[in-house]
């Protein structure tokens, strides 16, 4: 993006980002959050709003491989960054091993926390392929499940860590 010499008010910012592997360029108003942008501009509605204030994790996405609460990120702040949402996990109709294990283990009840849980889990498994149960809990500590399905979610993540040894995603 062009460098402004003397700082001026930026009423709209041209943002270049990659979302689920695809380049995206848009002009965005500064007060739009990344969550709003993903859902309402890109129609990627897999990422959810639960609390809107960083307390529930349903809006979790990966930015440059790190987990963030997209409800607390201004869309203009991801210029040059790589975004991964839940829609970016399946490849050619084949579920990512983490998604598959969430289904296999009954880790999906109402499904509302699921995208955020999966993104947080993926971040963990990307960096720690063989986590302990404690490490799984810590990685998911920012994701709430109001159905109370935590045990099965943790089982799914541990199971996925075994399956990922066979088919890296």
């Amino acid at each position: 993006m062009p460098v402004k010499k003397r700082s001026e008010n930026l009423s709209r910012v041209t943002v270049h980002m990659t979302v689920n592997g695809k380049k995206v360029e848009r002009e965005i108003e500064p007060h739009k959050t990344l969550l709003e942008f993903l859902r309402e501009d890109l129609y990627l509605t897999g990422t959810k709003e639960g609390c809107g204030q960083g307390d529930c994790g349903t809006c979790t996405v990966q930015v440059n491989g790190r987990p963030v609460n997209s409800c607390l990120v201004l869309a203009v702040n991801v210029d040059g960054h790589d975004i991964l949402t839940i829609e970016g996990l399946a490849r050619e109709g084949r579920l990512h091993p983490i998604q598959q294990q969430f289904l296999n283990k009954g880790a999906v009840q109402c499904g509302f926390c699921t995208p955020g849980m999966i993104l947080s889990s993926k971040t963990l498994l990307d960096t720690k392929p063989h986590p302990t149960e404690q490490e799984v809990k810590a990685a998911l500590s920012g994701n709430l499940c109001r159905c109370g399905n935590y045990k099965k979610i943790i089982d799914a993540v541990l199971s996925a860590s075994h399956h990922l040894k066979e088919s890296p995603g």
Partner: protein
């Protein structure tokens, strides 16, 4: 959908530009660092900034530099996650590392910055007590140039610092410490993660060479007063003479007396006092166990 009201938006390239904008723009300009507290307050309408000044483009605010002679320098825009992932931070200033690891949850830590946490000056701040017990100095720049303050002098009240208009925290300096010194940060919230401290305690002790006596003590507690509390009387309890289990108990009782926790939505004052006593004792014991008598 919780949405933000529009604001003027700036991405200054230099500190000088940022300072200019902060003093020259409208009613209520605010620095945007990680945004994990700012955006929440804006969504609740607790804060209505006329402008946000995003300081991410300014160079030199993200370094972690360690020098055995001069100690540690941490840039103000260093994220809490970077602190958590830094081997330097973990080995040199374990108490700060523990505070960082306890803050929020992984997704918050990716964005939140140490400068933002300090600037927000929440009485429950995790980073402040750790910085206080490390004798850290807060470095900031503003219209009057570069200034420094001891961490414990920065909070002027709940949510308030003594920084003036246009002053921006640029970093923190931690002096070098003796090999016989260790710090610990313990925190209890309503949940094991993603919660503010109901009670926390940062303890830092420099021991004698035989590890039986305390040469220097620093104790600071979040969430028990309007600002993070430096518990000087409790520190004094630990000095002079051998550190026995009785002295440790006495210190933990002293910590309870020095604090003035309140009843609030998270816990009662009485429960907090109980926790303070337990955490203070635990923290001291952990430090002593990690440095057994020589």
């Amino acid at each position: 959908m919780k949405r933000l009201d529009p604001f003027l938006y700036f991405e200054p390239q230099t500190l000088a530009e940022a300072i200019d904008i902060l003093v020259g723009t409208g009613k209520n300009p605010h620095i945007l660092a990680g945004g994990t507290d700012l955006l929440v307050r804006m969504k609740r309408s607790d804060l209505r900034p006329s402008a946000l000044v995003n300081i991410k483009r300014i160079d030199g605010l993200k370094d972690i530099r360690h020098d055995p002679q001069n100690g540690l320098h941490i840039g103000s825009m260093t994220t809490i996650a970077s602190l958590e992932q830094s081997e330097t931070i973990r080995s040199e200033v374990a108490v700060l590392w523990q505070a960082a690891a306890s803050l929020g949850a992984p997704a918050i830590r990716t964005l939140a910055t140490i400068g933002g946490n300090v600037g927000r000056a929440s009485p429950a701040s995790d980073m402040f007590p750790a910085l206080i017990v490390l004798d850290a100095r807060v470095i900031f720049e503003g219209p009057g140039g570069r200034k420094e303050l001891a961490a414990e002098e920065v909070c002027s009240g709940p949510g308030a610092t003594c920084l003036g208009p246009g002053e921006i925290i640029t970093g923190f300096s931690v002096p070098r410490h003796s090999n016989h010194a260790k710090g610990v940060y313990l925190k209890i919230g309503r949940r094991a993660g993603l919660d503010l401290a109901v009670v926390g305690v940062a303890v830092w002790l420099e021991l004698s060479e035989n590890h039986r006596e305390v040469r220097k003590a620093r104790i600071a507690l979040p969430a028990v007063g309007p600002v993070p509390l430096r518990a000087r009387k409790t520190e004094a309890c630990l000095l002079s003479g051998r550190l026995t289990p009785e002295r440790i108990l006495e210190a933990s009782r002293c910590a309870v007396e020095e604090c003035s926790p309140i009843n609030d939505i998270r816990a009662s004052a009485a429960y907090r006092k109980e926790l303070i006593s337990v955490l203070t004792r635990r923290a001291i014991e952990q430090i002593m166990e990690s440095m057994p008598p020589a």
